[in-house]
Amino acid sequence: MPVPPLDGDLATVRRSLWPLMRVIVDTVLRGEVEGEPDPVLVDDTTRLLSEKLVAMPRYLGIGMVGATWTFNQWAISTAGRPFDRLPPEGRRLALARWQTSRFGLMRSFTDFYGKMGIFLYYSLLEERGVHP
């Protein structure tokens, strides 16, 4: 998996988080967009999201890093394996569970990957002149 150039605050954390972030973005996009998401666009969306993670206020960025890690481990309690080792359907269910949780923090986490991820994905498509 290509690792994008990293610099700035939280860079090291971002590097180690990249593979997991990519799996989450891939799951979000598989749910939201038509057909199979283009892997290059998944990479680019993940890169842009990870840049957002660095750009947001540090106290939030750290929170989001922690939440991403927790999200991965959480799946062990519900599906027996961390999120990034689940099959696609298991990932979809794990994500949906957080999306509809009664806890605001869990929903905020999926909002970041879901809403922002979708915004960035379509922005990339628009930049490339592709419309669905």
Partner: protein
Amino acid sequence: MKTLRCDVLVIGSGPGGATTAAWCAEAGRDVLIVEEGPDLSIDSAPSYSMAEMAQKYRNSGLTPAFGKTNITYIEGRCVGGGSEINAALYHRPLASTLDDWQRRYQIDGFSPAALDDEFDAVEAEVGVATQPGGPDPQSERLIAGAQALGWRAKEIARFWKYERQNDGALVGRRRSMTESLIPRARAAGARLLADTRVSALELDGDRAVAATAVCQSDGKKEKIRIEFSEVVVAAGAVQTPALLRRSGLTARIGDSLQLHPMIRVAVRFPHKVADPSWGVPVHQVEEFKPQLTLGCSHSSLPHIALWLAGEVREKREHLRRWEHLAVFYAAIAGSGLGSVRNLPGFREPLVRYPLTDADMALLGEGVYRLGQLVFAAGALEMIGPIEGAPPVTHPGELGRLRTGLPHGRINVTTIHLFSTCPMGEDPRRCAVDSFGRLHGYTNIRVNDASVLPASPGVNPQGTILAIARRNVRKMLSL
């Protein structure tokens, strides 16, 4: 550490700072403007694009004001501040709003009549115009809905200038600060230091004597000390109180943040309505101002996707025909008082804003009215604003939104923040005097959105410019 000297240090280059710098420089003062963000042209990225967000938005656009319902707020962080990324809609506040401010905050020399002159001057100096030609397709829907309901709606003028090209075409350009007051300040000799963040002011008794700043360019950081005779802080409604508080100045600073909470919904019509080539729609419903404003937002595919709530399958279906969708908003004059506080070890302050019960009720009313508007305009369904709730397909279903917006399940944003250092002579509420000087200090002034005593209930940049002009002219005894 490098030391710079100037007569007047202006911190921040948004509408407040640019006005201050232009007037001070033209009065012959030696002015240094220090701006945290980069110095970019207005065309450096397409409006509302992700590139613009990365270049010109603070924190890339992701900053929450915490409360029972978090509110995402957006601020500019570049030379020109918010004026570089905004829709540039221009309003004068109602005379009754100004009257109320004068009375409640005991502001000297603040009659609506005196301010009229300032607004006239701002319009002439920055440039305000309406859009030539008819309305865009989204605004057409807004106007049609308002007409059907007997509500007042109109085009809002903008800080804009239209010029006829050689081929006869009329081309418009936003009159942001980098296109208007910053060049004026520079032409009069003001120096501008971009990519430089002021960390704190150094105090000596009732004066500030210097500022410490960090300049960050080409990946290198350099510490700077800036000595001055007077300092004007114009870093915006969140960063101004954060900077003053970092400097040990806390009395009534950052305790009274006010804002215009806004809810957006995606609306589906039987025909095409979204045409991003028009830019941002410029019509608003006037009927419920200043408490409530209804309007349309920029509706490109990414923005529609962002605001589209609901089931994944339905979303996909909707986005297949995204041009039939458009984003509309309801914005209210919030009644809560938020706070800005620095967190030890963190650069960005913690912002809190409690949406009051009255705010929630008014937002519900706003969404209800918005629903009435779009259905009267021929909408098929209104999608959102409650996450996970089914779309509204009939005006009869709007009642549940009017009374039942749940905390934490709606996306609330804001682009209008103010009142963190309110001006006036009332010592219980005001951080600065009637003309922006910090109470108890001789040479520290605030001249930006922070000094607005309360919500103007309309797009605020015109009011910020008019008050900044009034206050800097007083400072210069003009």
